[in-house]
């Protein structure tokens, strides 16, 4: 029986970066998992990160379930440009705090729209700002196989030193 859940590539930043890209993703797996441990340089406490596939900035939608500083809410968006893996700490957050997220992409090679789950968390040791749990159902309405993945900070700023990005492939046989 084959082993699966194999590391395809990783990147731990030794200096801040405006984006991280995994390109030439092999077509030898069934599903992909992206795991992040991220902090951003923008002068705020908590801010979103973004992910897009195959350099495409269209066809994304999501439905979110969120605890924001202890208050539950849900919201949704269509016609968006990215998948959002969750909020991350930033320059005004507790020092050395990083947010974590997992993105699961099943059947990334199959010619159909791509359902994607994301789960992201960040905790700031403050009761009113910078604490989030976000679970999201995402849909990328694109039938192309995913061959590249770009992870971006918010519209300004960079990922901070020490941020890490791991891409895994899963085989189902």
């Amino acid at each position: 029986m084959p082993s699966t859940y194999q590391l395809i590539s990783s990147n731990t930043l030794s200096s801040s970066a405006a984006s991280v890209t995994f390109s030439a993703i092999p077509s030898t797996y069934t599903d992909l998992v992206l795991r992040l441990s991220v902090r951003q340089t923008t002068a705020t406490t908590s801010i979103t990160a973004r992910v897009r596939f195959n350099s495409s900035s269209s066809g994304y939608s999501f439905t979110i379930l969120r605890s924001n500083n202890g208050t539950a809410s849900s919201y949704a968006m269509s016609g968006d440009s990215y998948v959002y893996p969750g909020h991350t700490p930033a320059a005004s957050s507790t020092a050395n705090a990083f947010g974590s997220a997992e993105i699961y992409i099943p059947s990334y090679l199959v010619s159909q729209n791509k359902p994607i789950s994301t789960f992201g968390v960040n905790e700031n040791n403050a009761t009113t700002i910078g604490n989030n749990i976000i679970a999201a159902a995402n849909l990328w309405q694109n039938t192309a196989a995913i061959t590249s993945m770009e992870i971006l900070p918010t519209t300004s700023g960079s990922f901070d030193t020490g941020s890490s990005f791991y891409l895994y492939g899963i085989k189902n046989s």
Partner: protein, 164 residues
């Protein structure tokens, strides 16, 4: 480090069906994970049972978001566990996961499920914890529905995870 996270079995649906079954599950792992990438053929609920048990031995607590509201609930002494408390619209690509912890042990069985059913900015995202009140090892998982919800191209894969 030992090999872990191994595929036990996978099914890709060729004709829409109301049942995907994993049987003769080996007891050689610690936990199980089932990943269902659903091409929903019709709008309906999907559910699962364990070891063919249709007795009133299941309970669950869930919460989800609809894009505008948060909801939560629970049920007990039920005869099955829903993969989602919401129907999946016809034609939707959706993702469900089931984590079955300590499935081969003699304690009652705890299951964590997630449902990811975005439909272009509507739909649901949810999480659920369920309990199957049985001390038997799980050897069969049946994904069920009242109609042929598992459409062509649906893929269900069962993975085994070892902790040592």
């Amino acid at each position: 480090m030992p090999t872990t996270y191994e595929p036990i079995a996978t099914t890709t649906v060729g004709t829409a069906t109301n049942l995907i079954s994993f049987s003769s599950i080996p007891a050689t792992y610690t936990d199980l994970r089932l990943v269902l990438a659903l091409n929903s053929a019709v709008s309906q609920y999907a559910n699962f049972t364990l070891n063919g048990d249709s007795g009133s031995n299941y309970s669950y607590t869930w919460m989800d978001g609809s894009g505008s509201a948060v909801a939560a609930g629970n049920g007990n002494n039920d005869t099955l566990i829903y993969l989602s408390q919401r129907t999946t619209p016809s034609g939707l690509n959706a993702l469900f996961t089931l984590d079955l912890f300590s499935y081969a042990g003699s304690t009652l069985k705890t299951i964590l499920t997630t449902n990811n059913q975005d439909n272009n900015g509507s739909g649901y995202v949810g999480i659920q914890v369920a309990l199957w009140r049985s001390t038997s090892a799980i050897n069969t998982i049946n994904l069920n529905s009242g109609v042929n919800i598992y459409g062509i191209g649906t893929t269900a894969t069962l993975y085994g995870i070892k902790n040592a």
